[in-house]
């Protein structure tokens, strides 16, 4: 029965996605309804994960679907750090539909069950946890980058509605997305480091190669930014390319490996 906690989580996330779309169309109070949907959904999913952790005797998120469930929880959790501020609510418009889609996939793949557990050992669990948290950070950074590009486009077009929507200032978005990506990068690096200790040379596969590629891409972006060579639009596009690698190339190589 506890497995059914995924239903309120999905419903609440879905409500948030619809409410944010309503706010974009100028519906009063839609944003506030949206953030409450995110909160309620996240609490329901937290309860689900807690039940999974307590019921399973091992690590319940070792399957791809279980990992996806945990990943969604991390993404929404990171979003909640800023999402409660009115100016950052619209970030949810980029993230919540994604959260709904991924959670549905996790559900369909059996990742929300309470009787699935493996015994991978502490190191592998830490590796998976850090990698997922890192990817969650990169996903939120990607959402911020998408919001940056959208807002920048409206400002370039001199759209007066920008003021009505109460969007975050461009520079704040730029700075914040880079910082979140940097934190994601550090977590990802930690996850890779922990993972390497459990590997032997012949275990290297395509997924690991792509992960290294993502690491190098984000590290280069961080270095360029530090040198003052990368700002705004270009930085945002780079974040999105990184996210694309995470979202599309990594799963393909993961399953192919």
């Amino acid at each position: 029965m506890a497995e059914l906690l995924v239903v309120p989580a999905l419903l609440a996330y879905g409500e948030a996605a619809v409410a944010y779309a309503g706010e974009l169309r100028g519906l009063a109070r839609a944003g506030r309804l949206g953030i409450w949907g995110v909160r309620v959904g996240w609490l329901a999913q937290t309860a689900l994960l807690a039940v999974q952790a307590l019921a399973g005797e091992g690590f319940p998120w070792a399957t791809w679907a279980g990992a996806l469930n945990l990943f969604v929880w991390l993404v929404v959790g990171v979003y909640l750090v800023w999402g409660c501020r009115p100016r950052y609510r619209l970030l949810g418009l980029a993230l919540m539909p994604l959260a709904v889609a991924l959670l549905l996939t996790a559900w369909a793949g059996g990742g929300t069950g309470v009787d699935v557990a493996t015994h991978p050992g502490v190191l592998l669990a830490a590796h998976a946890g850090l990698m997922l948290a890192g990817f969650a950070g990169l996903t939120v950074a990607g959402g911020m980058a998408a919001l940056y590009l959208w807002e920048e486009r409206r400002l370039k077009r001199r759209d007066a509605a920008v003021f009505r929507l109460r969007l975050p200032p461009l520079e704040a978005l730029d700075r914040l997305s880079s910082r979140v990506a940097l934190v994601g990068l550090v977590l990802l690096g930690g996850g890779v480091a922990v993972g390497l200790t459990t590997l032997e040379r012949r275990d290297l596969d395509a997924a690991m190669g792509v992960t290294f590629g993502i690491l190098v891409l984000y590290a280069s972006a961080a270095a360029l930014r530090r040198e003052g060579m990368l700002h705004g639009r270009r930085s945002a596009w780079l974040q999105l390319v990184g996210l694309l690698l995470v979202a599309i190339v990594l799963p393909i190589t993961h399953f192919a490996s």
Binding site: L155, R158, A160, V162, L170, E171, H231, R234
Partner: protein
């Protein structure tokens, strides 16, 4: 208790009349003290209105006093002022002040300064219990209207729109570098608005060096020639341009290549000139945003539409707060009856305890304290519901009747007889 408001505002009177009754903060403090002879007084004087708030708990000709004071201030012997004065009392006066504090009575709905002006007037005035409560609740209503609605969030003038735009791009403006191109009045106003938010005018570029130098000195900046604009653009964040040149002063073909060295760092061009100074093609350069006077006017118009929509929500907040004040004011009518009733009950309790003193003195101190507390508790519990019901009735028209009935039933009016 009575509240009277007499005032003159931009709704009825032109500036020539309003300025005759306008007083500064020191003047309003002096005037309030002079008016507060046996009553409470607060004088609110801004560029849009001068209002006198008087209150007293006895019947006094407060309205006449306030009218005469304003007429004296105006020195209007031609009688032009008297018909323009508005006179409000009690609930209407309270609702008016709440609307004023929320910016709903302002020329631009939700304008930000009025709340501070109401607070200053209150602090400089001579309020008693009634005006103290009235002004504190008005300030609360004003704050609520601003926090819970977006009435004061969007810009309402071209310089404010430019500043809001800069904040949308840069977040905080502290330390942001502004280049002023041309030394026109509008660009000066915009520069001052940006400075008030923490930005720094680093250079004033002007065709004639004399005027540019003078403005640069006023803005604690330096004067440069129009030829130096390219160099200045590498470092600045905001460009405010307003020259009378017939063509583009900031041309994309000339400046575009140099701007690429900024690596996408945002640069906002605010073009206030007609014909335009800034080549619109500059918006195509990475990180550059170009806004001309029409764009800023559109921002202001959109903002005013938004403010009017928010004003409807603010009106609801103000109405709720005004109702709360009315209820509080109405409850004052039954307060003396409640106080007399409680005093009477306490006197009976004390007298009965005194009568039993002979029998109680044999008891230990701890038991006597228990009896003392128990009797007080009985009195409180007995009077709790009647007190609540009287306060509830006070909100309606039955409050006075309830107070009279309580006085009659408990013989409280006989106690008041000498």
């Amino acid at each position: 208790m009575n509240i009277h408001l007499v005032g003159v505002s931009h709704h009825q009177a032109r500036i020539e009349l309003r300025e005759r009754v306008a007083v500064d903060l020191d003047g309003s403090a002096t005037l309030a003290r002079r008016l507060a002879d046996g009553c409470e007084a607060v004088v609110l004087s801004t560029c849009n209105r001068t209002e006198l708030y008087l209150a007293a708990d006895t019947e006094q000709p407060l309205e006449e006093r306030a009218v005469q004071t304003l007429l004296d201030l105006a020195g209007a012997e031609d009688g032009s002022m008297a018909p323009l004065l508005y006179r409000l009392a009690d609930e209407s006066a309270a609702l008016h002040l709440f609307r004023v504090a929320a910016g709903l009575d302002s020329l631009v709905p939700g304008e930000g300064e009025i709340l501070g002006q109401v607070r200053d007037a209150y602090e400089a005035g001579a309020p008693g219990p009634l005006l103290d409560r009235l002004f504190r609740m008005a300030l609360h209503a004003g704050r609520r209207a601003r926090v819970e609605t977006a009435i004061g969030e969007s810009p309402a003038s071209v310089p404010a729109a430019a500043a809001a735009l800069a904040q949308q791009v840069f977040e905080a403006l502290e330390g942001r570098r502004v280049l002023l191109v041309g030394a026109g009045r509008m660009s000066e106003l915009t520069a001052r608005n940006l400075r008030s938010r923490g930005a720094r005018v680093t250079a004033v570029a002007n065709r004639t060096s004399g005027h540019g130098r003078s403005l640069a000195a006023q803005l604690e900046s330096r004067a440069v020639g129009l030829d130096d604009i390219g160099d200045e653009l590498r470092e600045c964040d905001i460009v405010v341009s307003s020259t009378s040149a017939p063509g583009f002063v900031l041309d994309a073909d000339v400046l575009g290549p140099g701007l690429r060295s900024r690596h996408g760092r945002p640069l906002l061009f605010v073009d206030l000139a007609v014909p335009r100074d800034v080549d619109p093609r500059l918006a195509g350069v990475d990180g550059c945003f170009v806004y001309d006077i029409d764009d800023l006017e559109a921002v202001v118009q959109a903002s005013l539409v938004g403010r009017r929509a928010e004003a409807a929500r603010a009106e609801r907040i103000v109405a709720v707060e005004a109702e709360r004040f009315r209820e509080w004011q109405a409850s004052l009518a039954v307060v003396p009856a409640i106080a007399s009733l409680r005093a009477r009950a306490e006197a009976i309790r004390a007298a009965e305890l005194a009568k039993a003193e002979g029998r109680l003195e044999r008891l230990p101190e701890s038991e006597r304290r228990i009896i003392e507390a128990m009797t007080a508790q009985i009195v409180n519990k007995l009077l709790h519901l009647p007190t609540v019901r009287m306060k509830e009735a006070a909100v309606t028209t039955e409050g006075v009747v309830y107070a009279d009935v309580v006085r009659h039933l408990f013989g409280l009016e006989e106690e008041q007889q000498p």
